[in-house]
Amino acid sequence: MPTKQSLTQKNIRLSERAIEKILLLAGISSVVLIGLIFIFLFKEAVFFFQTASPFDLIGKWVYDEWASKNIFNMMWQAVSKIPKYSLVPLICGSFLVAFPATLISAVIGIGCAIYLSEIASNKTRETLKPTLELLAGIPSVVLGFFMLAVVATVVQNLLGTKFRLNAFVGSLGTALCVLPIIITISEDALRAVPKELRDASYALGATKWQTIFGTVLPAAISGISAAVILGFGRALGETMIVVMATGNAALITLNIFSSVRTMTANIAAELGAVAQGSEHYYALFVVGSVLFAFTFILNIFSEIILSGMRRKLRM
């Protein structure tokens, strides 16, 4: 090769390496950002424990004037003569919204994913999928508004609930948010099941239903579980809808038709109004850290399950 050409080749190699480095930087930046958010959140949260004890996050002995004795108080009453920072009602509220929301969207979403990947014709799928993805594009404030203004009334009229805004209305709205996630990931999991497995089942004389329930679903079950776990994480993190539709009363209850306050709604409602550096301010960061820890663990779980499925299906 003439020397001229090798010179230009060297230049190409240089620019290629530069591009590689830039892309690497872009890839790392998201990891760094997550790390920074993590550190910031926990750093602020730690300040809370300078003035309060970790035990305060569960409850506090407070003198009750009516009962004339100390009673164990598990409440979130940050603005009060004796501020109380119990996370119990908030965690309770979060789960009371997220569990039913995940349940509703899992039932509908998995059914929908089965329909899309196994039954629908290409034409149907091509119209149905973008429509479902449109659902993911609706701003959650619009969904919240819809829940608050329309669905809450309908639910109250139908079920005669005591509170118009309650955990159930919130979870219906959250289910709409979670649905696209569960559908998309479950459908991917179902479609990742090799055609050879379906063929094997059909060749043994199995019907379509036997093939779906005997072969395709069991092979995709870990992917579907991961979808549900991720959906649950999303439901825990949903904020706007629950702020608007759950009534925001920090109660410890298992009644799904009671008003509740979730961790997310609590932060959204209060963080804008607290003095920076106050105990209340740091308490909200503790709530945020707990929420972050929950969703982080759920995400790791689903990632482990998904990689397990990929290993299992590698043939």
């Binding site: 063929d199 089942s201 059909y202 060749a203 069991p218």
Partner: protein
């Protein structure tokens, strides 16, 4: 074709398993003669959308024999194989015309129960495709699909199938471990066991050894030799030596047509057609 000509109802002469492939009490339309080919294909045309994949195929496949289908890639031999158990039904846009008679019953007739047909005509695929389940559950799958729930019966038939497919000795101590942990050759024999478990009369094999090492291939070929005592076997292969070794009859396909069909001995020593000879001797393809 024979619906019009001298047709007779010979229900009592038809094997009991065959009766199940006809959905209801429709009379069975069969030939009168006893010397029926197991599979009799007349005027078969298969299309994928508008492309014609098979043209005017006429072939009679003998019972308890191994018939090899050979030909270059894309010649239609796999399509033909998949027509015999109507697996092409699962491909959208695939369409078949003509008649394929199995024991005298046209499998394209509207009253045919495809599920029962596929039980009668088992299939082994090119790539071994065990379910991501245990070895036992793989073999039991077809039985369970056909409604067998009794665990003693399942146990018995799983064992029987694994013995038939020469896998029993290797797996009897780990029946409940994952089938994915088996070697490629073992997986393919497991797929054969799975196909045999539902008691088929015909076994279709689509290049069953093409992804295997020579030792595993030899085991599969040996197995085919043994199995032809009980089953009618149709095998697609790219390997000429394999076709010569395992088959009794050979069909050469080219561009969707059946060029030549005859006894393997004859096809490989003195074929009638020049194209067949060219292909077999490697001058083409």
């Amino acid at each position: 074709m024979d619906e019009q000509n001298n047709v007779e109802m010979l229900e009592e002469r038809v094997s009991p398993s065959l009766k199940k492939i006809v959905k209801e009490k429709e009379p069975l339309v069969t030939h009168q003669t006893d010397l029926l080919p197991k599979i009799n294909v007349q005027n078969l045309n298969v299309y994928y959308h508008t492309t014609q994949a098979l043209k005017q195929i006429e072939i009679q496949i003998k019972p308890q024999r191994v018939t090899a289908l050979i030909g270059p890639s894309g010649c239609g031999k796999s399509t033909f194989l998949r027509t015999l158990n109507r697996m092409n039904d699962t491909i959208s846009g695939a369409r078949a015309e003509g008649t394929v008679m199995i024991d005298g019953v046209n499998i394209f007739a509207p009253n045919i129960n495809v599920v029962a047909l596929r039980r009668l005509v088992g299939m082994v695929f090119q790539k071994s495709n065990p379910f991501p389940k245990s070895i036992f559950d793989n073999v039991a799958y077809g039985l369970r699909v056909h409604g067998i729930k009794d665990s003693n019966n399942l146990q018995e038939r799983v064992e029987e199938s694994l013995i038939k497919s020469a896998l029993w000795e290797e797996v009897k101590d780990r029946l409940h471990e994952s089938a994915m942990a088996l070697s490629g050759g073992q997986q393919q024999r497991l797929c054969i066991a799975r196909a045999l478990a539902v008691n088929p009369e015909i076994v279709l094999m689509d290049e069953p050894a093409s992804a295997l090492d020579p030792i595993s291939t030899a085991k599969i070929e040996e197995l085919i030799h043994v199995l032809k005592r009980d089953y009618t076997i149709v095998i697609v292969t790219h390997n000429m030596q394999q076709a010569a070794r395992v088959s009794d009859w050979t069909a050469y396909f080219y561009m969707g047509s059946l060029v030549e069909y005859g006894e393997t001995k004859k096809i490989f020593t003195a074929p009638d057609k020049k194209e067949t000879e060219d292909y077999i001797t490697g001058r083409f393809g």
